[in-house]
Amino acid sequence: GDSGAGGGSDDKIVMGFAQVGAESGWRTANTKSIQEAAKAAGIELKFSDAQQKQENQIKAIRSYITQRVDVIAFSPVVESGWDTVLKEAKDAGIPVILTDRAVDSPDTSLYKTFIGSDFIIEGERAGEWLKKEYEGKPETVNIVELQGTTGAAPANDRKEGFAKVIGTEPKFKVIASQTGDFTRAKGKEVMDAFLKAQPKIDVLYAHNDDMGLGAIEAIEAAGKKPGVDIKIVTVDAVKDGMQALADGKINYIVECSPLLGPQLMDLAKKVVAGETVEQRVLTEETTFTQEQAKAALPNRQY
């Protein structure tokens, strides 16, 4: 039950939101979407930035509990380790909504709902596209992979989902896999080295657009044509990535949408009102081919 809605409960709903940080453009768009949606929905938003540290997020959540907000939402930095503070929230009668990433607690009563994308599915989608692309061609496909930050959940999951799908066909071979820290500069640096070390690369799979964009520069510098000589598939669909897709430099992008603000606010209102909500809400996400990208590009916000 959520009886305890203390503080300024008379009119406005107060939401405490503990963001991971601002480590990427994607994340910034995510933050912006939430802030704007809160304003539009008339919800007072208390926002804090954890600078990629779980400790800070826990601190923020704990501080929201002492401030007696009406609802707490946060994007977990990692899946594990939230039980204690979530239990405190539960004891204080404050409902919790997870966004973007899940927590792995077996006790699902600790949070009301989880809204966000599934990184494993994203990896799978990338793999499925690849399978379709090379359908009926028996020769081996040499794949290089640019991973996200070592240990980060999206990196782990996107790798896992992708590996699961392509693992079913032995012709797909990941010949090199290295972290590019989700950044363009690192993506370029690593791709530079891959290009020198690997005699034949057919496909690049990058865990986000930025690394893909960096890699494109490296491929061009090596005198090859991205998207033609080396096929590229990435995840995220930020504007720059979509542009590259439209230009034919990237072949396929799996969307991971940061714009879950409106959905989140809806859920928050329901939760505070005591309505029951689904335990898992998937964000509306899609995939893009070159044509779809050209169509979507003009009204892409981030």
Binding site: Q51, I58, R62, S63, Y64, D83, D104
Partner: protein
């Protein structure tokens, strides 16, 4: 010329009394100034934010920073000898990782895991101390390599985070010590015991005094017949131990083991120690200062969350500005007084 003519050495005892008093005051002045500024900061927070003056807010600062406090205590020892330990954050992460994997994946009993990880931490520190001392490798580099090594080991164990469901751990994580409507976690208690113990060691044992001597001048300490090598190795061992203990506290706090836990913790710990008035060149500083340093960092973080409307970048800028303001004031106050 009026001549009192009672001294042979040129100083009268009466003349020495006043400077003595001033001297003692001067020595504790930076710490006192820090304390005053901390109180000022808290006061400002209480005036500006609703609910800030709640005692629980202060207690939360302790709860949230218990592990940092323990790590900073170890760092204080190292910095007092003029060294530095960059590996602490990584050792913290490694500790959470080893604990989690042993408890959850191997099913070892907590009674074995707990002492084992503490031992591993201490041994890790001991090894770095030996490298630093015997092979004369700069502490910065030796502990940087230690940092790479410890983080690397984390990833070797697993790149995923491992949740801890062990009974003892969850009890430690969730049991609270309540008094009059307020509560602290057991970690806070452990951290305070560590602080008191360390303060005692520094002030009242030979090891503690040797730490100061080595920090003041390693050459002199050596020529005075002090066990320089042993002291040096000891401080890194202590720091390793404290990091491991900090890691255990963090794993109580997070109930998980993860290779990316406590990234950048080394800088927080160093900052806490230095804000507390300890000189990075060694030989001067107090443990109490370190406690204040940790509180300053914690309070800044609390103010940020209470402010509640800062964008991610303004968060950083404001942290920087608060830090700058604090340090400049601290500097001004202690300069004015001396």
């Amino acid at each position: 010329m009026i001549d009192l003519g009672e001294t042979k050495t040129g100083t009268s005892t009466a003349g020495a009394a006043l400077p003595r008093l001033l001297d003692a005051r001067r020595r504790y002045l930076p710490v006192l100034a820090t304390l005053a500024l901390l109180a000022l900061m808290y006061g400002l927070g209480a005036v500006n934010y609703e609910g800030f003056s709640d005692t629980q807010v202060l207690l939360n600062v302790l709860i949230d920073n218990a592990f940092l406090l323990v790590v900073a205590v170890g760092m204080t020892f190292v910095i007092l000898t003029g060294g530095i330990d960059l590996s602490v954050g990584a050792v913290v992460a490694l500790t959470t990782m080893i604990s989690a994997s042993l408890l959850e994946q191997r099913g070892w009993p907590p009674g074995v895991v707990l002492p084992l990880v503490l031992l591993i931490g201490a041994a890790f520190g001991f090894a770095m101390g030996c490298v630093i001392h015997f092979f004369e490798i700069q502490p910065f580099i030796a502990t940087l390599a230690g940092m790479f090594l410890a983080r690397g080991l984390c990833y070797v164990i697993s790149t995923d985070s491992i949740p801890i469901t062990d009974g003892f751990w969850t009890t430690m994580a969730q049991s609270k010590l309540r008094a009059g409507g307020f509560f602290v976690s057991t970690s806070v208690l452990i951290a305070l015991v560590v602080v008191l113990g360390a303060a005692y060691v520094l002030a009242y044992t030979r090891l503690g005094r040797d730490v100061y001597a080595v920090g003041g001048s390693p050459q002199s300490a050596l020529l005075m017949g002090l066990p320089v090598g042993r002291t040096r190795i000891a401080v890194y061992t202590i720091s390793g131990f404290c990091s491991a203990l900090g890691g255990v506290l963090l794993s109580f706090y997070m109930l998980s083991g993860y290779g990316l836990h406590a990234t950048g913790l080394e800088l927080d710990a160093i900052a806490a120690v230095v804000i507390g008035g300890t000189l990075l060149t060694g030989g001067s500083g107090y443990l109490f200062g370190t406690v204040l340093g940790v509180l300053v960092l914690g309070l800044i973080q609390t103010i940020i969350t209470f402010q509640g409307n800062l964008s991610s970048w303004w968060t950083k800028i404001v942290i920087g500005v608060l830090l700058a303001a604090f340090i400049l004031l601290q500097r001004a106050v202690s300069r004015r007084a001396s």
